[in-house]
Symmetry: C2
Subunit: 348 residues, 2 copies
DNA sequence: TTCTACATAGAAAGCGCTTGCTGTACGGTT
DNA sequence: AACCGTACAGCAAGCGCTTTCTATGTAGAA
């Protein structure tokens, strides 16, 4: 049998109530009593029963973190930062919390299922990372779920995700549009006029916003976009590779390729190299996110740095109520253009 | 107030017991009754109370995954694979399980704390990934904790970690020694005789085993190792960069650098380039793990591929009791040498 | 001294669910 | 016709904790 509170109480010659109070430290207990209890806890190797405690106290020390793909450092970095702030071991705050990291794979169904699961666990807080799907039906369902959660007292924070109006969720949104615009303006400034764009999966806010930024920049400089210059694909290396070959096939005169993110950009670089093109002499390449490996690409990748760790940490603090929510419940987090070796003047 | 089982029962005109049985599907219920109950559940938007359920049933649907660093794809890939198999949404098996991913930062204290936390939650299973610390005291403490967990019915699986004897834990161990040996033998085969080695942090099994493999290869070929050829450092890019400069300072005649892992190798490449050395013409470089970005390095990295996803998936299945544990509770997972552009014949 | 106040400790009522056991009705046996 | 097995459904006793309310001992106030 496992040891229960009552066992500890018996051994310490006190009532279960007292043991509970010693363990929770939320009620005055005489020092001598406390000591006796702690000794008994130690001797019996007692470990509190989490579910029972959660049930009785109607609270939980679980915090949910939803990510699209945990194997992707983009999400891993944010998740790690969130976790470091929610006060698990190593965190500062007392209450030890457990981070539940959920892989949604970017599908709305799994997002919903996980939210329900977290609701079932009565999670103390939930952090949703990454862009949202733009499927109307599911979006409404997610919003409804978020509202339920916030109404039940769960703090909900969106990190790198557009705001969800009327849900009570706090949003820390990335300025994907602004970053996309800045990036493309940099290339235009270098003299590029024929730019290919490898967009992410359709129906994603991140994809759309970055693309919109790109187009805004083109329009601002009077560059008319050729529809052949945009290709959609997944957010992975292979998609970038294939999309680049496709772009090259459609228009071999492109002088720059802008990718939806760094991983895709790496695939693009590989495709260009395999096609015998030099970077940036023949074609410039740009990414987005500035993941750790981007600086190690050869040449180093020009990209937009997103402060993933900072944003995640802030999301964690807000989720724990340790930092005030931004005014209006919405904060915009800006990226920073990182100009490196993969972008240069176009060939004459 | 939140909706309870009793509310649903009242609305469906049945007893709470029946509602519970419909929800759990583990007891015959007439179709018409079931329908009525499900309708009530739907209308009331009822969500089961996880803690209460866990308490009453003395089971939990939480599965813990311990990783050293969630932002590192090495762990992210394994964690993702484990999660995909434990039957969360999207997984096959019925019981929806939540993966609790815990960042230990590689410290034994946090590892212990997290194990206690998971024990408190009465986790259904726990998967520990990554190498173990070789600190005797802590190692014993962790072993004791693991034994407690397995005794309490929690399935414990070690993934990419040495076996923990007498704990009841199943081990899926990476053959770091063999991989390290193979890698160095490859370099020796190319003609290298002066090889630098950038080892990971000391007191880690992974570090030690890979280094031992390296040395075994050297010894097997009668190469006497110069103590100056080994430098220890963290498992990150910067450590690789600095260690490489240090190696170069100690012995500029080195013709190859073997890194503890791919991330470190990337830092090594950067340091070599910044020192005006060409890869592999002047110095060959080799990594370990074969993370996704390694093939995109220029030149592509010679390394040892560890089947992280496969091992993680298998660990997940074993943890869920969906796959038989290996004989003796221990399985060795071998790596595969991937020869790529970063290694070549030494300069004359 | 008697009363009030404070500091502690205990008794006990749940928290919302699961499940063993106990009906009850019905169809099929003998 | 009496009997039994089967298929459901409900009762009620917990699961192990938290917390309100109450009891007690002691100290200072009157």
């Amino acid at each position: 049998m496992t040891v229960t509170l009552a066992d500890v109480a018996a051994r310490a010659q006190v009532s279960p109530a007292t043991v509970s109070r010693v363990l929770n430290g939320n009620y005055p207990v005489a020092a001598s009593t406390r000591e006796r209890v702690l000794k008994a806890v130690d001797e019996l190797d007692y470990v509190l029963n989490g579910p029972a405690s959660a049930l009785a106290a109607a609270t939980s020390d679980l915090v949910g973190i939803l990510v699209n793909d945990i194997a992707d450092p983009f999400f891993g970095i944010m998740a790690g930062a969130v976790q470091s702030e929610i006060g698990g071991p190593g965190g500062r705050a007392g209450g030890e919390r457990l981070a539940v990291v959920c892989n949604t794979g970017g599908t709305p169904e799994r997002e919903l299922t996980y939210l329900t699961l977290l609701q079932r666990q009565r999670a103390a807080a939930v952090v949703l990372t990454g862009g949202a799907m733009e499927d109307g039906v599911h979006q409404a369902a997610v919003a409804a779920k978020l509202r339920k959660l916030t109404e039940a007292g769960t703090r909900v924070v969106l990190c790198g995700r557009p705001p969800a109006p009327d849900t009570g969720a706090i949003a820390l949104t990335f300025d994907n549009r602004g970053g996309g615009r800045e990036l493309t303006e940099h290339l235009i400034g270098l003299g590029h006029r024929r730019l290919g764009y490898i967009a992410g999966p359709e129906e994603r806010t991140t994809t759309r916003h970055r693309l919109e930024g790109h187009r805004t920049a083109l329009a601002a400089h009077g560059i008319e976009e050729d529809p052949r210059w945009t290709v959609h694909g997944r957010y992975d290396r292979q998609a970038g590779y294939e999309a680049t070959l496709e772009l090259l096939r459609r228009d071999p005169t492109l002088t720059a390729v802008v990718a939806a993110n760094d991983t895709v950009a790496l695939g693009a670089c590989a495709a260009l190299r395999d096609s015998g093109l030099r970077i940036p002499d023949d074609v410039s390449v740009a990414g987005f996110d500035d993941l750790p490996f981007s600086i190690d690409a050869v040449p180093a990748l020009t990209t937009v740095r997103l402060p993933l760790a900072e944003a995640g940490a802030r999301a964690g603090r807000v989720a724990m109520g340790r930092e005030e929510a931004p005014a209006g419940g919405i904060a915009t987090v800006r990226g920073e253009l990182m100009v490196r070796g993969s972008s240069g003047r176009p060939r004459a």
